[in-house]
């Protein structure tokens, strides 16, 4: 009698173990999947633009002054303007990028040229960024002093926008 009871209970226990090892445990699985979603798709994710602020490495006072002026313009004037720039990199960001890369004089020349080109009429001369629908124009492309070393202008992307 005792033997039969032991055998029966062992069989039942093993059966339960087999069943539970193959059946899905819904609640634990759902929680894990929800945590997976939360980690992969965190809310309020922002695409960070390249930060073009004053760097401690900048030693020229003139450069710092000009960059500071452009930053002030961006914060207090440009932020109130209608978003009318035709290019992916806005004119003020282009200016900051150009001044940082090529110096004050060259950067200002490039800025001046850029302001003259920033119109709807001239948009057709530039390749279009498929993400934003705006024309592509980066400081490197607009630079006369440096050669674009055998790179197609149509496929050029600045470092910060590399996939």
């Amino acid at each position: 009698m005792v033997k039969k009871f032991v055998i029966a209970s062992t069989s039942v226990t093993i059966g339960i173990l087999l069943f539970t090892s193959f059946s899905p445990i819904i609640y634990g699985q759902v929680k894990d999947d929800l945590i997976f979603i939360l980690r992969s798709n965190s809310l309020g994710k922002k695409t960070e633009n390249e930060k073009l602020t004053i760097s401690k490495k900048e030693v020229s006072e003139l450069k710092l002054a000009v960059i500071g002026f452009v930053n002030l313009y961006q914060k207090f004037i440009s932020s109130q303007d209608i978003p009318s720039c035709n290019f992916t990199l806005s004119c003020s960001r282009f200016s900051l990028s150009a001044i940082r890369k090529f110096g004050v004089f060259h950067g200002l020349l490039m800025t001046s040229d850029r302001l003259l080109r920033c119109t709807n009429i001239g948009r057709k001369y530039y390749p279009v960024d498929p993400e934003t629908g705006l024309a592509i124009d980066y400081p490197i492309i607009a630079n006369y002093a440096g050669k674009i070393k055998n790179r197609s202008i149509f496929t050029f992307r600045e470092n910060s926008r590399k996939h």
């Binding site: 200002l108 020349l109 490039m110 800025t111 001046s112 040229d113 850029r114 302001l115 003259l116 080109r117 119109t119 009429i121 001239g122 057709k124 001369y125 492309i141 607009a142 630079n143 006369y144 674009i148 070393k149 055998n150 197609s152 202008i153 149509f154």
Partner: protein, 296 residues
């Protein structure tokens, strides 16, 4: 006693069965022929870097592999080249050349090294390696490919004259080969592209703002430059006319006029440069399409 014996027999059978299963799995996956099959499958699928790792794994069974090692090293190099890891691909092709001087893949390896340099944008290295290899390779097909690659390197460095001279100097049977003839044609087109003079564009914009840009076929940009500089200079004149040198408006608009005028000259020179780049890039795109079909 009988029951204990039976039970122990069952348990032993169970253990043996587990051991056999483990071994049969190992054989199935890690038998050299199966590793090679899997590597080939990954290569066909386009998963080149993974295929390279599997070919390397296959090489570890060096005692029993039926296929020659040089074939495998060549394949690994090809995988890395197709997977765009040019540095590693070059090292494996160099191994074929160094360790297997009588390999069937010798000529191809020379070509692949030069081609890998070309694909990673190192045209000078590609040229010098191709030049060295031409003195070592005797077979016609191998030499032909290297000569075509040499011409291609000149084209990609936009050395049109050198490209025309080189491709024209090749022997007739090479010159009239389909790809060689196309490359010669591209080189001639490159030489004769309708380029714009940067100096002329700048000078024209200095005389009449915007004209330099119109000369470079950017009429819209030219018109806007003319309009903007015209407007600011008019406002500066208006300010100075009313209040003389004390006019704040005059000075502000005067400074803006100077700012835009200098930018307009600079922009015209840049536009000529970009125009020239764009027409060359268009030609190079056509070249790229042609070689993608011919060079694999």
């Amino acid at each position: 006693m009988k029951h204990i014996r039976l039970t122990s027999i069952f348990l032993c059978l169970l253990l043996i069965q587990q051991f056999l299963l483990a071994n049969s799995n190992q054989e199935k996956y890690y038998k050299p022929e199966n590793i090679l099959r899997f590597a080939e499958h990954l290569f066909q699928e386009g998963d080149y870097l993974r295929a390279a790792s599997e070919f390397l794994r296959y090489l570890y069974y060096s005692d029993s592999i039926p296929i020659e090692e040089d074939t495998i090293y060549y394949k690994i190099g090809l995988c890395y080249r197709l997977g765009k890891n040019h540095q590693k691909s070059i090292s494996y092709f160099q191994k074929v050349i160094a360790d297997y001087p009588y390999s069937n893949y010798l000529d191809d390896s020379h070509f692949q090294i030069a081609y890998s340099h070309f694909l990673s944008g190192k045209y000078k290295e590609s040229l010098s390696f191709a030049d060295k290899s031409l003195s070592l390779i005797k077979s016609d097909p191998g030499r032909l490919k290297l000569q075509q690659l040499t011409g291609l390197n000149y084209i990609y460095q936009k050395q049109w004259r050198q490209a025309v001279d080189y491709l024209s100097s090749l022997e007739n049977r090479v010159k009239h080969n389909g790809l060689s003839a196309s490359l010669l044609n591209f080189a001639k087109q490159g030489e004769q592209l309708p380029r714009k003079s940067k100096f002329l564009a700048g000078l024209m914009s200095a005389i009449i703002p915007g004209i330099g840009k119109m000369y470079c076929h950017r009429t819209g940009d030219g018109l806007m430059s003319l309009l903007t500089i015209g407007l600011t200079s008019w406002q500066a004149y208006d300010g100075f006319h009313k209040k003389g040198s004390k006019s704040v408006k005059g000075w502000i608009f005067g400074a803006m006029t100077a700012f835009f005028y200098l930018g307009n000259i600079y922009g015209s020179v840049v536009t000529a440069n970009i125009y020239n780049q764009q027409i060359e890039d268009k030609l190079l795109t056509e070249v790229r399409v042609t070689i993608n079909v011919s060079f694999k």
